[in-house]
Amino acid sequence: MIIALAGNPNCGKSTLFNRLTGANRRVGNFPGVTVDGMIGNVIGHKGVSIVDLPGIYSLTSYTSDEIVSRDFLLKQKPDAIINITDATNIERNLYLTLQLIKLQIPMILALNMMDEVLANSGSVDILQLQNALGITVVPISAKKKEGLAELTEIAIHAAAHKTLPLRIDFCTDAAHRAIHAISHIVEDHAQRHGIPARFAATKLVEGDDNMLKTLSLSANQADMIEHAVVEMETELGTDREAAIVDMRYRFIEDVCKRCVVKAEESREYRRSVRLDSVLTHKIWALPSFLGIMFTVFLLTFGVIGVPLSGVLESGIDMLARAVDGALEASGVNPALQSLVIDGIFAGVGAVVGFVPIIVTLFFFLSMLEDSGYMARIAFVMDKLLRKIGLSGRSIVPMLMGFGCTVPAIMAARTLASRRDKKMTVLLTPFMSCGAKLPIYALFTAAFFAKHQALVMMSLYVTGIILAILSGLVMNKTIFRGAPVPFVLELPNYRLPAAKTVLFLMWDKTKDFVLRAFTYIFAAAVVIWFLQYFDIRLNPVADSGDSILAHIGRLMTPVFAPIGFSDWRVPTALVTGFSAKEVVISTLAVLTEAGTESLGDALHGLFTPLTAFSFLIFTLLYTPCVAAVATVKRELGSLKGTFFVILYQTGIAWMAAFFVYWAGRTVFGLDG
């Protein structure tokens, strides 16, 4: 038995889902529809699962979330729907309810946050509301775990007995007639597609082109429908879209007048206003935002996440050494020994190293999201981000990109529109990630000792400027067309539920490990292979004979115009694809300098000008394999992933070329 959980954003849907289901959750996968939502088994009811649909305001087809939900409900036909609503904001929440009722699927209305309504001396006449809507209404508090057992019992009962919603009519005469007439016209077609005729008719009256396409009506039928709708428009003196929306809201207002005693201005709302008097204040909003972001950043990449990664990595290192010793003693083939230590252990270490960072960052992101602050960030930062065609929320993944591109790109998932998400994913790699810092530190110390800070700063700024330019260009080219409207609810601030936060951290980490592991692991082993063998597949004695060195030599013509004529530089850059900090260890091996004297050895490879060109290239060229794997996961397209690799590398080459060329011709520096 499958029960769908549907409701507006910010109504406590994920809290309810987490309360009803246990740890046994997976990403929903149904033939023909992609639901990027979770599916879980209901605790204490064997064989009953709940699908958590995306939070939506309506069942039209303007956003991908709405399309996904609508497709799921129409095609998959769950046994029942639990429609969760925020009782403190009942008018707007019932708007979706009125559309769900028309689907002819057994349905229960869960009135969430009833505790808040009652605490603020409001009330809802449950029986009256049931009569008005023709479905069972259950008051609950997902947060306080009230009414949940009753809700599941009733939902399962309704599903088992196929208790359909009673037919309610919220339409006035003219619209009623139009819907009735169109119902008859489309009845056969709708039935063939498994769509309730009245639902289809209502959508057609609203001017929903998607429905028109789905039903594959004849030109004649389409004409008849158009005629009926125009007649209704003339009679009502308004257009089709406004007419139906307005009727639904009129009906809701009428129901609320009879059933709901509105709460006085609630404590939660007053608290939100007080918090917002600082957090969205004319002067204090920006400092608060920067302060909060800085704290999250510092805790994730400085205090908790990265040090924990260090601990894990040194643990794996110790294990590797122990295994290394054992293999040495047992006298196995040195190639196998090297594969295990330098290939497999290095690969596993790289994957595991990301986990603490992802866990910590998503802990904070989940707090920001569930508390309601994320919506304020959108409110405060919108004007700035809109200039490059994004909305305010995109700033969060981008800022996190300065720590690590991997969790930053994962954070883009929560962005409302697909366009914003894609663009944010494409622009985040421009933010210089933390793994590049050791490279900057080494080179600036070796070549620009006097202006170390200035040179580093110039790198970060270059990244940001190129991101903005790319944004502007993309906005005019691949992302041309109207952006999704920015109409955003500012929910009351609420304390996030611990279980929701924990589950999000768990889901994100699991997702990363499962999906990125293969790629990162494969990259580590391939790079090991290229370094260990020469082209005749004999283990190399001199690192200059390896396959990798050959590849590096082959690539020198490409890199000569940007100032790197030595094969060791491209070779180091190639190994940087497995992880950026590896560039340093490769250079140390290839120059035979060791890490200590590497700074001096670099003077044999670079002039100050080519060192700077190298830094610019390192800043911009393709993200590491872990980031690329994450991009693939989030964009869901191989084409887009290759685009990221080629685009970044192309920009890197051009920028480095510009630096090298300008340095020599304009400033007369040594190449």
């Binding site: 303007y62 403190t88 879209e241 406004a242 929306v245 004007k383 409207p485 920015f486 609810e489």
Partner: protein
């Protein structure tokens, strides 16, 4: 007048909702239907967007979108003026 011109702290009653298809649809569905009373609560620090209050909840809109909503101002004594 349009919602864009409404000062912070003042309320208006919606007369008409314009805008291109997707935007208009979204505005209507979020409850900005004719006769709805909307109060402007705040303007974002950089001057755009605005925070509104309607039907018991807070909503934010960009000024360019608020301009598509025609309203009549509700003066303090309860009367309406265009």
């Amino acid at each position: 007048m349009t919602l864009r011109n409404l000062e912070v702290g003042k309320s208006g009653r919606v007369l008409q909702v314009g805008g291109e298809k997707a935007l208009r649809r979204r505005l209507l569905e979020m409850g900005i239907t004719p006769r709805t009373v909307i109060t402007v609560k705040k303007i974002a620090p950089m001057g755009d967007p605005v925070e509104l209050f309607l039907r018991g909840y807070a909503l934010t809109l960009r000024l360019e979108d608020a301009e598509k909503i025609t309203i009549e101002k509700i003066s303090e004594n309860g009367g309406a003026s265009k």
